[in-house]
Amino acid sequence: MSEHIRYTRNRREFLSDAFCGFGALAYGALEAQGAVVNPLSPKLPHHAAKAKSIIFLFMAGGPSHMETFDPKPLLNQLHGQKRPAEFGEAKYQFVQPNATLLGTKRSFKKYGKSGIEVSDLLPYTAECVDDLAILRSCHGDMVVHSAAQYQMMTGRIIPGFPSMGAWTVYGLGTESDNLPAYCVLPDPHGALEAGQPMYMHGFLPAVYQPTMMRPGNKPVLNLGLPPGVQLEERTKTIQYLKAMNRAGIQGEDTELEARISAYDLAFKMQMEAPEVFDIQKEDEATREMYGVGKEPTDDYGRRCLLARRLVEKGVRFVCVTSGGGPGNLQWDAHDDVEENHLRMAKQTDQPVAALLKDLKRRGLLDQTLVLWGGEFGRSPESQGNKGGRDHHNLGFSMWMAGGGIKGGTVVGATDAIGLRAVEKPQHFRDIHTTVLNQMGLNQHALSYMHLGRKERLTEIEGMVIKEIV
């Protein structure tokens, strides 16, 4: 079968695809039982997996590394001066060549057994530092939001390619039969520059698309009954629909059976998912730990708690976005990095740490890979007259935790002013490769033929970050 029509269209193909052809042997047996295979059924990984699920804590707009995980004493010493020539050139979206360096007002302190330095911007996260692998030498290719967000999510600087979440579900299916496999929990303040295409499935079949979960009573579109429709009557409709569809099938027909079973699944989802979405089901102490019910942590706290409830039920990929709408409601601190980052950190720091602790105490952290970061960092140079920082893609920090990642580690370094990743630089493709690796997926094997190219998440080969796995 050509890779170009890789998508599995019926049970037989699914089985032969899923198990390198051996599955086809089981076809007869399954057929006899009348079972119907769901295209999202769990699939075997390429190699032994460390993690089963991913939670991506997406700090949209680009948090500063110099205010969070990458202390730069020299930067403070050079505050107000122009960048010394020996650090080389950088292209910025707004900052002009005559800009001067901006020292940080944050102070750094060593935390945990590992003694890793974290700034006072993130006091809660700092307490979890022994679980984190901090990547201080991340870099990407683009310095504008949209293109950088595409690269971070899909590996490409242009839209139209499948996101990490879609690739993961394509590779592994899902462990949950009543929840969407891949959920995005966007920031209620608004959308991001790269828009919907950054989260999407690109050219992969629509079955791998994300489910957007919005705040409020109806987090998922079309999951609730339309107004004026009673559950009882709709249940009956679905039952009769099934009976009519069955009556229309002659003999064995896997394709039509699959559609019937998609309706069963939809109904199950409609009945059971709202229960999982309801964080009131959590005890008070837990909600409090996440900062639910108080400002400014309520929103992100709810969404982090929901993320935990989702992965607990087998959801494969959850993206919890912090930041949305106009730049200053993201981590996009062009005007005043102090004001912006203090505000954004206060909203997210406690919930993020609570998520890590909560996963850990439930024994879920081992099988859940948590990734934190934005599409780039921020410039060592000052923008504007209030101490803002511009976008910056040449060197910045991200972190991973759980899912077989070695906690309490630091990998790579930027130069003495945080301009450029100089030691063990980690491109987005390396981060993607590492994420896939922890999920038991191989960047080359996880491919899909599209327009004559074997497309994959990492366009150019990435390297597993050996120091942290």
Partner: protein, 658 residues
């Protein structure tokens, strides 16, 4: 002597900076798709049954392959099945029961041909087949990326494509107009609109420091890749960063093709008077300034205040007068052309050797030099692509046509005729069709007729043959017709037709339908979604709904409509729970169910059995089977008509074409 030396030195210097013309091995040149088309004769058969099936050349080619694998074709589908199949195939809409009856009861010998011709003449034909082309060229009406700015006049290209199919525009002309309409017919509106093809790709713009050469490189990349994918069926794009890994396309070939676009710039033709434009600009300027100021305020405001400002902005946007009509075209300005170099890893800053214009080397005689300076470079490229001797062009297009009729191409990878693509399942048949296409003057409708009048296309899809399924589970040999699921647009359009709400209006500016607030809020600029005021417009065919890159209707999205970001040569057909949720709980389907229920009640006079019969005839193009009738009547007796109607719109018999 010294001068001569200097000249020689100079020449050497220049030569060192120009990419070599490239050498192609015999093996590379032998690839099937690069060979000239052969004139082929359909095979002949002895047995009367074989002769009966091999009524047309297509059938003869297909039968020969089947017999080789010891398989036999299926029986013919019933007349009513064929009618439903051909209505969807050519118009994307179901036949009405009256249309079905008229065909089934018409006993004249040429009824089928008449029906095919009638549908090819139907205005809905262009809407259906135009969509296929729009998929291939990744048509959309917004820029994509951060701003996703609306290209309010892009609908003219959509209408051009619909008209081209409707009027059976010769395909060579279709190619030339799209690639170079501005160069060949500088005054002809139709050709200028067509040349908007070169501007269809996503476009990244950014605030602040402009990355001029990087952005220009992205624009040129979009233009070049589109040509490879749409017309030539080769993965030119693969050679942007390095020599193609599998096909004889060198990196220099890629940039030599790109060189034809080096001077191509956007060019907007106003279709209004100067005064009109001045007045419009004067009206719009203060509104835009006000909006910009409010957006600034919004960034600093709390969520409540933000919502207020957002609503104000929305109403300001609404109050804006529509821009004066413009035509999106391009021009070639060779004075301003971008120098074209080989770019290491495709990066604009990593410039290598300079190149000039030349088509793909492997299709040219060894050592063919680059073209000299040209005033009309794209017209030259178009004449090479649309030439009768180009081995790819006609094959690629007939393969697309075949694919849309049968669900899969003779080459299963319609955009990739290279070594990594599929080998043709029926090489001779492909050449036969391509020859017919060229000899008919590139008539797409001629190819439709050849296919639709074949026994191969008229086979039943319901054949159960364990042996055939074992040998050829994907039906590559066409031992039956492959059932298919309706596409996203067909589904929406058909639901509107069944509910009696379809507005058949053709052409014109695109429509924005009302959608959930949650969806518009997922836009970076929610105010972009200005719902079209006239509600009748909301019920138009899907091809007239706006193709916005950063927001797709959930109905389109779940049923595998492409995203308009990259070329889509073949849609996926997936089956998953969100489709069921959309059709069961979605606002659109519940509205249509309500209207369909009212229609059914009226048609049946409230008689349950009649209602069930009518419903099946409308959604499935046939009467219910005994078993279906029994279940449906039991349901219809006890359920609200709306619930019954909704179930009918969710029925497999509706969603699939046999």
């Amino acid at each position: 002597m010294r001068t001569l030396l200097a000249v020689v030195l100079c020449l050497n210097l220049v030569a060192a900076n120009i990419a070599p013309l490239g050498k192609y091995t015999a093996v590379e040149k032998r690839h099937w798709a690069f060979q000239p088309r052969s004139s082929v004769e359909p095979p002949k058969f002895e047995a009367p049954a074989d002769q009966a099936f091999a009524r047309t050349p297509i059938d003869a080619f297909v039968l020969a392959k089947l017999k080789k694998s010891e398989l036999a074709p299926s029986v013919m589908a019933s007349r009513q099945t064929l009618a439903r199949r051909v209505y969807f195939d050519l118009t994307g809409l179901p036949p009405t029961p009256q249309q079905l009856d008229a065909f089934v009861n018409d006993k004249r010998p040429d009824t089928w041909k008449r029906l095919v011709n009638q549908l090819l003449d139907s205005p809905h034909y262009g809407e259906r087949w135009g969509q296929h082309w729009l998929d291939v060229v990744r048509f959309a009406e917004t820029d994509g990326f951060e701003y996703d700015t609306h290209r309010t006049e892009a609908y003219r290209y959509r209408d051009y494509v619909i008209r081209a199919f409707q009027n059976d525009k010769p395909y060579d002309k279709f190619i030339t107009e799209q690639l170079a309409g501005d160069e060949i017919e500088t005054q002809e509106q139709e050709a200028l609109i067509a040349s908007g093809f070169n501007r269809l790709g996503p476009l990244r713009k950014n605030a602040g420091n402009q990355e001029v050469s990087s952005s220009r490189n992205e624009v040129l990349t979009e233009m070049t890749n589109a040509v490879g994918a749409a017309f030539l069926g080769v993965t030119l794009g693969c050679a942007r960063c390095h020599d193609h890994k599998f096909d004889p396309i060198r990196q220099s070939d890629y940039y030599r093709m790109q060189a034809y676009f080096a001077g191509t710039l956007e060019n907007d033709f106003p279709l209004s008077s100067r005064e009109e434009r001045v007045t419009w600009e004067a009206t719009i300027k203060p509104i835009d300034a006000k909006i910009k100021q409010m957006q600034g305020e919004m960034a600093k405001s709390d969520p409540v205040k933000k919502k207020e400002i957002e609503d104000e902005i929305l109403s300001l946007e609404k109050g804006k007068p529509a821009p004066p009509p413009t035509l999106y075209s391009v021009k070639s300005d060779m004075e301003q052309k971008s120098p074209i170099h080989l770019l290491a890893r495709g990066e604009y800053s990593a410039k290598g050797d300079a190149v000039g214009m030349r088509p793909m080397g492997v299709l040219l005689p060894e050592g063919t030099p680059e073209e000299g300076p040209l005033d009309k470079p794209r017209a030259k490229l178009a004449s090479w692509i649309a030439s009768k001797d180009n081995p790819l062009t006609a094959r690629v297009m007939v393969n697309r046509i075949w694919q849309y009729h049968f669900g899969q191409g003779i080459v299963v990878t319609p955009n990739d005729f290279g070594r990594m693509g599929g080998r043709p399942s029926h090489t001779e048949l492909l050449d036969y069709l391509a020859n017919e296409f060229v000899n008919s003057g590139y008539s797409v409708k001629h190819v439709h007729r050849l296919i639709l009048n074949s026994n191969t296309w008229m086979q039943s899809s319901e054949t159960v043959s364990a042996k055939a399924f074992e040998k050829d589970p994907e039906n590559k040999l066409y031992w039956k017709f492959s059932r298919r699921r309706l596409g996203a647009e067909e589904l929406r359009d058909s639901m509107l037709m069944l509910s009696g709400k379809l507005n058949p209006k053709q052409g014109g500016p695109s429509v924005l339908v009302p959608i959930e607030k949650e969806l518009t809020e997922a836009l970076y600029k929610p105010s972009q979604w200005q719902v079209t005021e006239d509600p009748a417009e909301h019920k138009r065919r899907s091809i007239y709904l706006i193709a916005k890159r950063n927001l797709h209707l959930p109905m389109m999205e779940v049923f595998d409509a492409p995203d308009g970001l990259v070329s889509c040569a073949r849609r996926e057909t997936s089956t998953h729970a969100p489709q069921a949720l959309e059709l069961l709980n979605g606002t659109f389907s519940n509205e249509q169910a309500e209207a369909f229920a009212a229609k059914l009640l009226k048609l049946s006079g409230g008689k349950t059995e009649r209602m069930v019969e009518q419903a099946y005839r409308l959604v499935a193009g046939r009467l219910p089977s005994l078993k279906e009738r029994q279940v449906a009547i039991e349901f219809a007796r006890t359920a609200k008509p709306r619930e019954f109607a909704l179930a009918m719109l969710n029925l497999n018999a509706f969603l699939y074409v046999n």
